[in-house]
């Protein structure tokens, strides 16, 4: 029984990490209809920022994550303002292509600057485990990461629902023309959205660096995870990434526990396909995004 609890716990915590990686990707897709293939490289870049802060200034990654988020926010804002806004009215594949190019540039840029070596951010506590009765162990770093994922999700919900900026973002996402008529500066709002998403990716990177390892070529994997989780959870709902992340985390963990070989990945993708067939808008996605078709 304790094995089951351990597996469940592992799955939920891993799901939190997935959610943190995917939440920004989901936001950009949901609001701007942009599939950002450079998202994974933002995540890895965020890990490098936190790693540099930790190495050179001795800043703890849970603090350094703020620095990562700020740096990536700035980068994201500039990329949207200077590049993506130029083609944002074109069909969705155009922005996909643009971000694919950006991803190549960023990944190889990191490869040149930081080399392909594997890195990790060192802390004295992140790889400790807290023992619970029944022999279940709670990994501290992953628990903190999960807490960050929940906090970020709640903060995003508050931002979107309670602040003028958030409402402007949502309004622009629903009907840009009408939003502009209301005096919302769409260019700025889009850049802000992309910046926030990149900032969240940066924070996720700092967490990955703390509980695991990273190097430039990981970027593609994080983009793929984000893609899966964003749609599984459902676009347009800020809780979507968290829901999608935990479902995938649990599916992988339970399958890993009770099936032999490496069927766990196959199970995770089977869950994805089945969920989509049963609920085509994702677990908690909203129908009105469905109506907005991509060309």
């Amino acid at each position: 029984m304790s094995t089951f609890f351990q597996a469940t716990l592992n799955g939920v915590l891993q799901g939190g990490l997935f959610a943190l990686i995917a939440v920004g990707f989901s936001l950009v897709w949901g609001v701007m209809n942009v599939v950002n293939l450079a998202h994974g490289s933002f995540v890895v870049l965020g890990a490098y920022v936190a790693w540099e802060l930790s190495n050179h200034a001795g800043i703890d990654p849970f603090l350094g994550m703020v620095g990562s988020a700020a740096a990536l926010f700035a980068l994201g804002y500039l990329i949207q303002r200077g590049l993506v806004n130029l083609v944002v009215n074109a069909p969705i594949f155009i922005t996909l292509l643009l971000t694919f190019g950006l991803d190549l540039v960023l990944v190889q840029g990191m490869n040149i600057v930081f080399t392909g070596d594997f890195q990790a951010i060192r802390t004295s506590y992140a790889s400790r485990g807290i023992g619970l009765p029944g022999g279940v162990q709670v990994p501290l770093g992953r628990l903190l990461t999960f807490a960050v994922a929940v906090a970020v999700t709640l903060a995003l919900v508050a931002l979107m629902g309670r602040t003028r900026t958030g409402l402007a973002i949502m309004a622009t996402g629903m009907d840009r023309g009408a939003a502009r008529l209301m005096g919302i500066r769409a260019r700025h709002v889009y850049a802000l959205t992309f910046g926030i998403a990149a900032g969240l990716a940066g924070a996720a990177g700092a967490m990955i660096g703390t509980v695991g390892t990273f190097h430039p070529a990981d970027a593609a994997r994080y983009t793929l995870i984000s893609f899966v989780i964003a749609v599984l959870g459902g676009l347009g709902n800020m809780y979507g990434a968290l829901a999608g992340g935990v479902v995938i985390g649990l599916a992988e963990s339970w399958a890993g526990q009770y099936l032999s070989g490496t069927w766990s990945n196959a199970v995770a993708f089977a869950v994805l396909v089945v969920v989509l067939l049963v609920r085509p808008t994702g677990l908690i996605g909203r129908a009105f995004y469905e109506a907005r078709q991509e060309a």
């Binding site: 594997f118 890195q119 790889s127 162990q137 390892t213 526990q257």
Partner: protein, 408 residues
């Protein structure tokens, strides 16, 4: 005006086409006409294997510079300078295979292997078909050598030895002798072959073997596999892994309270990244290595293993890793084979490779019928206070195996 633009566009496209296919780069005919010995190397500069690719290239470059600094390779009365033509295989097997063909276009018949078993497996049939010769520096999977290829020679010990050498070391050195060994394995071909070799050796030596748990290669989450074996309380956990999974095992075992008497892992422990990222947690972990600075033997170009260590330190500012050493050894094998053949003819060099038997800084280099170097033992290393020390085989050991390994 517009028509003119279209024509200009077409001509640019045409020019790019010619340039891309490499037209105009008509190579010289022989393998090393003139006073040079020309080698070619696909290596991973970008993609998932970029790190290992960089180390491999360092090894090749060090070989080239060292050989040339000594005047070159003496072949049939002349001293030939060594030249290496590099190309990025982007960590993909089909690109590696394509590069081997392109090297052949340029008349380069001597190929230094790409990094990793999949890329080597893709390059080997092309080498065979083109009448080239390949010195494989890192493709250890035994399946490459069961295809009947006659022109691929691996300087390194085969995959089956990676985990088996650790089992042997534990059997000989760990007292009181442990009873149970659990195997964790990535699911790629190389790692699986490693695991099979380790399981077979452990059963042969009377250990109780807990059946292997597999996880996807390059995963950073191995918690499921660890949770599964935790309840079985193995004395030793041996992981056949790459760096990422290797680090994940140690980190997550600590998080999940999985505490065997000893961790052993392939590939990961000898790399500095493993020690840097894990810090104190890495202490006590043993690993198998293709090469250590304690390896016995020497050769005219690099001297002993200690000399090699110093040369890498001087040139690259870091300690030599076995990825460096196996690359240099592959290149060295070509130099020695060309000298022995007294010719740059690829067929003669192939024959010289097949009968090459020499000592070197890398240990003995000698190939069996299939082209594998089964004559060189692997070494077992252990991390002690952040330093890598050789503990097995005993005649090359710098210190004793710390048993139990884990101090925390």
């Amino acid at each position: 005006m517009r028509r003119g633009l279209a024509i200009r566009g077409l001509s640019i496209a045409g020019a790019i086409t010619l340039a891309a296919t490499g037209c105009g780069s008509k190579g010289s005919s022989g393998g090393g006409s003139g006073d040079v010995l020309r080698l070619g190397a696909p290596y991973s500069n970008t993609g998932a294997l970029a790190r290992e690719g960089a180390l491999t290239k360092e090894g090749y470059e060090l070989c080239r510079e060292t050989v040339n600094a000594k005047g070159g390779v003496p072949v049939g009365g002349k001293k030939l300078k060594m030249e290496i033509s590099y190309s990025d295989d982007t960590s993909k097997p089909d690109v590696a295979a394509r590069i081997v063909d392109q090297l052949n276009d340029k008349g380069i018949k001597l190929v230094l292997g790409p990094y990793g078993s999949p890329n080597t497996a893709a390059a080997a049939p092309v080498v065979e078909r083109n009448g080239q010769v390949m010195a494989d520096s890192s493709g250890a999977d035994n399946t490459i050598f069961s295809q009947g290829y006659k022109r691929t020679f691996a300087v390194l010990s085969p995959a089956t030895e990676y985990a088996a050498s650790m089992v042997k070391a534990i059997d000989e050195l760990a007292r009181p002798k442990p009873k149970t060994i659990a195997f964790l394995s990535a699911d790629d071909g190389f790692s699986k072959t490693v695991t099979q070799g380790g399981v077979a050796e452990a059963q042969r030596r009377g250990f109780t073997v807990i059946p292997p748990e597999y996880f996807p290669q390059q995963t950073t989450d191995v918690s499921a596999a660890l949770t599964k074996i935790k309840g079985k309380h193995p004395d030793v956990i041996i992981g056949s892994v790459h760096l990422v999974e290797g680090i994940a095992i140690i980190k997550q075992a600590n998080e999940l309270g999985v505490r065997p008497k000893l961790f052993g892992e392939t590939v990961a422990p000898p790399t500095p990244d493993f020690r840097n990222t894990l810090h104190g947690l890495a202490d006590g972990v043993i690993g198998s290595s293709q090469w250590t600075p304690e390896v016995k033997g020497s050769d005219p170009y690099f001297g002993t293993a200690q000399n090699y260590l110093a040369a890498v330190q001087a040139k690259y500012g870091h300690a030599a890793e076995y990825h460096n050493a196996e690359a240099t050894a592959a290149c060295l094998a070509f130099a020695l084979a060309a000298q022995k053949a007294g010719s740059t003819d690829p067929n003669k060099i192939r024959d010289a490779m097949a009968t090459l038997d020499t000592q070197s800084f890398f240990g003995r280099i000698h190939f069996d019928q299939t082209g594998q170097n089964t004559f060189k033992p692997m070494s077992v290393v252990q991390i002690k206070q952040g330093k890598l020390v050789t503990v097995w085989p005993t005649q090359a050991a710098a210190t004793k195996l710390a048993w139990p390994g884990a101090t925390t």
